[in-house]
């Protein structure tokens, strides 16, 4: 078990290094006019040149990358080129908003999709038709269009929710709930239909298995068969979908945070990439990739716990 985790963590670190390098190389092409952009158009040529030296822009690509990586290993991601705010500090302010949004949404999606998917698989009939139709409709409408509709309807027309968030560091729980309710609902609507569809087919596949018939022949109640045996075997398929949705959401919140004016990672990503603030972009990318690696590791661990065969190999 421990070797499994260590091996996965090692693989994660390799991925992290590869992605850092690729991102850094990509950003290198964008950094030509950075010093001029930071100082503004009225700065003198000497000032710009001095700034370039200060930022290390006069150095060759590999030197710059290894200088950055050397600091990054110690947890020092440098400071933003534009605001001089330490990158770690900026991310720590933004991360809670995004993580709360995504985690709350994924937990709700998991619960609703499981219940709906199982109901559709077991009861069939109208619930099944609703779940199947909803899955097609859910696929057809992009998440951010749902969000726009929700804002227009519930925040702007009906004024039930604030249209823009008022989350600031240290804000109370009521502010968080009011600000995150609509975005969470938008993510939920977008994710639950596909999730329920996947759980449905996984449960149907399990219900057709021979061992279910044998369990029934042993006098085990239908409820116990469903919730203990079938759900457990269907769970890995559901988890895979949820983890993909989670990764998708980390990207999706970029647009969502813009629509709901939430001060999260996504907003930071847009701001830092449009300005070419390389330390900040690298910070955002690294944090996101680390979250993704952790989520994938968690999914593998849960799958191993659910399925003894995976555990052995």
């Amino acid at each position: 078990m421990l070797t499994f985790i260590l091996r996965r963590v090692a693989a994660g670190i390799v991925v992290l290094c590869a992605i850092s390098f690729i991102t850094y190389v990509l950003l290198y092409f964008s950094s030509a006019n950075i010093a001029r952009n930071i100082l503004g158009e009225f700065a003198s040529q000497d000032q710009v040149a001095a700034k370039e030296v200060a930022l290390g822009l006069d150095q060759p690509l590999m030197t710059r990358f290894f200088a950055w990586a050397g600091h990054a290993i110690t947890g020092d991601f440098g400071t933003s080129w534009f605001t001089a705010e330490p990158v770690v500090h900026a991310l720590e302010n933004r991360l809670p908003v995004t993580l709360t949004l995504v985690v709350v949404a994924i937990v709700l999606i998991a619960i609703c999709a499981t219940l709906l998917g199982m109901a559709a698989a077991v009861k069939r009939g109208w619930i099944d038709r609703v779940v199947q139709t909803a899955a097609v409709v859910g696929d057809a409408i992009p998440g951010f269009v749902i969000a726009i509709v929700l804002v227009t309807l519930f925040a702007i027309q009906l004024k039930l929710f604030p249209a823009t968030s008022s989350i600031v560091p240290g804000a109370g729980a009521d502010v968080w709930i009011a600000s995150l309710a609509l975005p969470v609902i938008a993510l939920l609507i977008n994710g639950v239909t596909g999730g329920a569809q996947q759980i449905r087919s996984a449960v149907i596949k399990q219900l057709e298995k021979d061992y279910v018939r044998t369990l029934r022949s042993r006098g085990i109640s239908e409820r116990e068969i469903l919730f203990k045996h079938v759900l457990r075997s269907a769970a890995p398929a559901g988890l895979t979908v949820l983890s993909l949705q989670f990764i998708g959401m980390l990207g999706g919140v970029v647009i969502l945070e813009q629509i709901f004016a939430l001060p999260g990672m996504g907003a930071l990503a847009v701001q830092s990439t449009t300005m070419g603030d390389i330390p900040l972009v690298m910070g955002v990318v690294l944090y996101t990739v680390v979250i993704v690696i952790i989520v994938n590791l968690l999914v593998d661990l849960i799958n191993g716990w659910l399925n003894p065969k995976v555990r052995v190999s």
């Binding site: 099944d128 696929d139 992009p142 269009v145 042993r218 239908e222 998708g248 647009i255 449009t274």
Partner: protein, 603 residues
């Protein structure tokens, strides 16, 4: 699938034309094609359809309502909404196509090579794919934009790279499945080059999934592209639906209909693509679809059975003089409703009985209805099965009363596990792989007999020893995949006798086992039956097993009972030609049957 090369190529084209007809017959498929054709027409004829240049701004006429010259009104700087919508279709569709093309060009060949040759390339490609799939798309696109500027086309190329793993995995899995098929081996032996094998056999397999995947990918590309434009990260000089959305959102307080048109266009386009993908899938899985629809109104075998006619007449009594039979099946008919409204009968007018302590064999080849008969007694028929005639009684009470159309779960479920138990055919698939063998033995005993876990555990140990397992403790802790097939079958037999049933239904209990293990398992069943005095209904196709174990035998063919009687008599004087044929096939190359019968017993 195992046809020679030329024939499989031909069936390929037949299937394809049938698939297209099915898509056109499906209302959703037609809708999808109509929507997409409309969008494509808009894109192609944009120059004709749009009265204005998409970027022509009439400053004097901003946020105007629809009128004769501006069909859908104007936006905040006075640009014509209709013209922008039409030109937006062009950008949007082209970018979706570009994205899908890039993804296919990268994913398809690499998937083919990885799937067909495997090896190092496969390992490296999988590693790269795992990285690509764990990247959050938009963050990457933001980075790409920072590097290469705000071009829709560059974003879509990058996004195509990000989506290529979908094609890679799809192709790789299909190719791996086909690579080891016999007809591909045959083609290889016949001297076809790898290239022509791939072109001929493998493309025909991946073609349909690729079409479905492409519809989905185009949808995702449209969503992400308009998302980026919405963020204001696109090229501001190009009219796209995303830019229109963004512009509408900024003016949502002044004129919310500016949001409506681009949102509708995006929703319709993606919807059309999703529907097209589903229609292709449905057309390919047509047979499966009918089955699923048929199954829909049927209740699940367990909890949710509606009150059938049977439950209302709870106390139907069995015919006098038949109460002493352990099981009595009378004129049983089992059928499956078909798509055209008819009912396909798999069991027709079958009657027999089984007494306490007796071993009755049901013999027939596959498709004879023998297993369906056995499952009717257990009440474990598939959801869509119907009892079309007859009745079943167990120990003097109906489980299927005359006139019932399903087995009454209310009555059978209290018997199952407790008084009727079941030994399945395939040992491995009949144990839940996620739970230990001990758990799967202990839990039914706790539930059915109401005993404590400790008591159930000690009983389980004894049962495992009883069925001839050498180290019960180790087997108790093991997971099903950790034991052999013969051992698993012993575990299932232990489970079947664990609650001291009166009747054991054994469905081909030795068919899936090695020949050496078969004899052991038959010995075990015989010993247990003698020791416990339990009635056994043995379903088999093998007269050898019947002669070994059974007192009486029922022979079935095509759902009908053809012959019934004591084993000895039927073995010696089979009256029905089908029985003679079954016996003949068993006796081939063996000693004549008369050797089994002592001379003095000849009548």
């Amino acid at each position: 699938m195992s046809q020679p090369a030329a024939a499989s190529g031909q069936t390929g084209t037949v299937v394809r034309s049938r698939v297209i007809t099915r898509i056109l017959k499906n209302p959703l498929g037609i809708t999808a094609i109509a929507i997409l054709s409309l969008m494509i027409l808009m894109a192609v004829l944009a120059n004709v359809l749009a009265p204005f240049d998409p970027n022509f701004a009439n400053i004097g006429k901003t946020l105007a309502s629809p009128d004769a010259s501006n069909l859908l009104g104007t936006d905040s700087v006075g640009r014509d909404v209709w013209s922008r919508l039409v030109f937006g279709a062009r950008t949007t569709l082209l970018s979706a196509l570009l994205c899908a093309t890039v993804a296919i060009v990268i994913g398809l060949p690499t998937g083919l090579i990885a799937g067909y040759y495997g090896g190092k390339f496969d390992a490296v490609a999988n590693w790269v794919v795992n990285i690509l799939m764990s990247l959050p798309g938009i963050i990457v696109l933001l980075t790409v934009r920072a590097a290469f500027g705000p071009s829709v086309w560059i974003s879509m190329v990058a996004f195509g790279v990000l989506l290529s793993p979908g094609y890679f995995r799809l192709t790789r899995t299909s190719v791996q499945a086909v690579r080891n098929e016999l007809y591909v081996d045959a083609a290889r032996v016949a001297g076809l080059s790898d290239g022509s094998i791939i072109a001929r056999h493998i493309f025909s397999v991946v073609r349909a999934p690729i079409i479905i995947q492409t519809a989905m990918v185009c949808g995702i590309a449209i969503a992400i592209q308009s998302g980026l434009e919405f963020l204001g990260l696109g090229d501001p000089t190009v009219a796209t639906w995303g830019v229109m959305l963004s512009e509408g959102f900024k003016n949502v307080y002044l004129n919310p209909t500016l949001l409506l048109w681009p949102a509708l266009a995006i929703g319709l386009s993606i919807g059309g693509l999703v529907l097209l993908g589903n229609a292709v899938r449905d057309a390919l899985e047509d047979g499966v679809k009918i089955k699923a629809r048929k199954a829909a109104p049927a209740p699940a075998a367990g909890g949710a059975a509606p009150a059938s006619r049977a439950d209302r007449r709870k106390v139907a009594t069995v015919d006098a003089g038949t109460e002493h039979h352990l099981v009595k099946v009378s004129h049983l008919g089992v059928g499956y409703p078909q798509a055209d409204g008819s009912v396909k009968k798999v069991v027709d007018d079958v009657s027999f009985h089984l007494d306490r302590g007796e071993v009755l064999g049901i013999v027939g080849e596959s498709g004879s209805g023998k297993s369906q008969t056995a499952f009717s007694i257990l009440g474990l028929l598939p959801d869509n099965a119907r009892i079309v005639a007859g009745c079943i009684q167990f120990d003097g009470n109906y489980t299927v009363a005359p006139g019932d159309d399903v087995v009454s779960q209310g009555r059978v479920s209290s018997l199952r596990g407790k008084r009727i138990s079941y030994i399945p055919q395939e040992p491995m698939s009949n144990l839940d792989p996620a739970f230990t063998i001990g758990y799967q033995l202990v839990t039914p005993m706790m539930r059915v007999l109401g005993i404590s876990k400790a008591e159930a555990t000690s009983r389980a140990m004894k049962l495992l020893a009883d069925v001839g397992i050498v180290s019960p403790e180790r087997t108790f802790k093991a997971y099903p995949h950790e034991v052999s097939g013969g051992m698993a079958q012993r575990v299932l037999i232990a489970g079947a006798i664990s609650c001291e049933p009166d009747l054991i239904i054994a469905d081909e209990p030795t068919t899936a086992l090695d020949v050496t293990v078969q004899a052991d398992v038959l010995d075990l069943i015989r010993d247990l039956q003698k020791r416990l005095g339990v009635g056994v209904l043995l379903v088999t196709h093998n007269f050898g097993v019947v002669s070994d174990l059974c007192d009486r035998v029922v022979v079935m063919q095509n759902g009908r009972l053809v012959e019934e009687g004591p084993v000895r008599e039927i073995l010696r004087n089979p009256s029905d030609p089908y029985t003679q044929k079954l016996l003949g096939s068993m006796l081939e190359g063996k000693e004549p049957m008369t050797m089994l019968v002592p001379a003095g017993m000849e009548a």
